[in-house]
Symmetry: C2
Subunit: 213 residues, 2 copies
């Protein structure tokens, strides 16, 4: 019962959520996201992205004068979408357990978003080079992610929800590493890997609260 008109592509869905004048820009960002995910940022060219959108190179450069500016727009858009979709209302300093429930929903959702996971995995290793245009983005991203998790653990501890004898030093980085590292294994061979289940299990070693509520 698929109706082509009722089943728009991802690019069309994004494009339709913008005012008419910004649709082309949104369409370029969505296409660049796919190209960066499949061919890596370094491997992708502006000519290739223009062709995938179905516009000229000059038309693409009108919206994004450099590949760097296009990458910045792709990352900004993904953070905006993730923020709205998974972290709206979440505040690790106000309710740490609620923050972890939001984080777990994001990790579970990623199991259905291979392209997104692939993009961030590839970019994060490319961006280790200080000359890479996303280097600053990833330095910042790991800092605020670590700070958020530290705050969430600290808030839970302040309410007596931490198991006795647990040392939280370095745990935020370990939890991020668990997610990132399992994603690499999952991308290479997803058989038998449930990242959300492993993260729940690790969090349950520290927290007494029910993370499913």
């Amino acid at each position: 019962m698929n109706d082509a008109r009722a089943d728009p592509t991802a690019a069309e869905r994004v494009a339709n959520s913008y005012p008419k004048g910004e649709r082309r820009r949104a369409e370029i960002i969505e296409t660049a996201f796919s190209v960066f995910a499949s061919d890596s940022y370094r491997g992708a060219s502006m000519v290739q992205i223009a062709a995938a959108v179905g516009i000229s190179r000059a038309g693409l450069l009108h919206h994004f004068p450099t590949k760097e500016s296009l990458l910045a727009a792709v990352l900004e858009e993904r953070d905006r979408v993730n923020g709205v979709r998974y972290f709206e209302g979440a505040d690790p300093q106000r309710d740490g357990i609620d923050y972890f429930r939001h984080l777990l929903r994001l990790v579970d959702a990623n199991a259905g978003q291979r392209e997104l996971v692939q993009l961030f995995a590839t970019l994060s290793t490319e961006a280790a080079d200080p000359g890479h245009p996303a280097h600053g983005y990833f330095v910042d991203r790991y800092r605020w992610l670590e700070a958020d998790i530290d705050h969430a653990l600290g808030e839970a501890a302040s309410r007596g929800l931490l198991r006795p004898g647990r040392d939280l030093d370095g745990v935020a980085r370990d939890l991020i590493a668990l997610i990132d590292g399992l994603q690499i294994q999952w991308l290479i061979d997803p058989t038998g890997i449930d990242i959300g289940a492993r993260l729940r299990r690790r969090l349950a070693e520290f927290l007494t609260a029910d993370l499913e509520a």
Copy 2:
């Protein structure tokens, strides 16, 4: 007190350890390793590697007819070197604790080998694509690494060296993820990250044996 003749480059050191006829081949592998690490496998070209070695493209193709064959040689050489340098005599099914001591020495040594860590981090995410020439290598690599760690944990458990109430299911993958994930953070910003220390700490949550002996 640096004497240029007493301080050979890495390529020279490798080259000198081979019979004269194979020196050029070893030199190409060492140079390709550096180029793949800095520019990624996808981003590197055979012309660029030939120039870095100081030979013609035809000269390079005489030794390695394709970039794929050169990558295979680079990975094979790294596994050979790592096996000799860090795992000689280690057998996870015979002595699990001894195996973990070897693994910790490798992880500690990696802190001084940024280029090597960068190469494997970049390749492992590129190779998620089933069409990538290193895909099979990484599928196999994660399988034997997981099997080795499982064997080591099982051997230690069989000698009563496991803390009570520990479930080992999935732990091997989690440990690999911890190493891989912390390496990503370390490559982006090494400040305050000691991967060996975190791995020791995690292993000590499972094992009662002294891992430093």
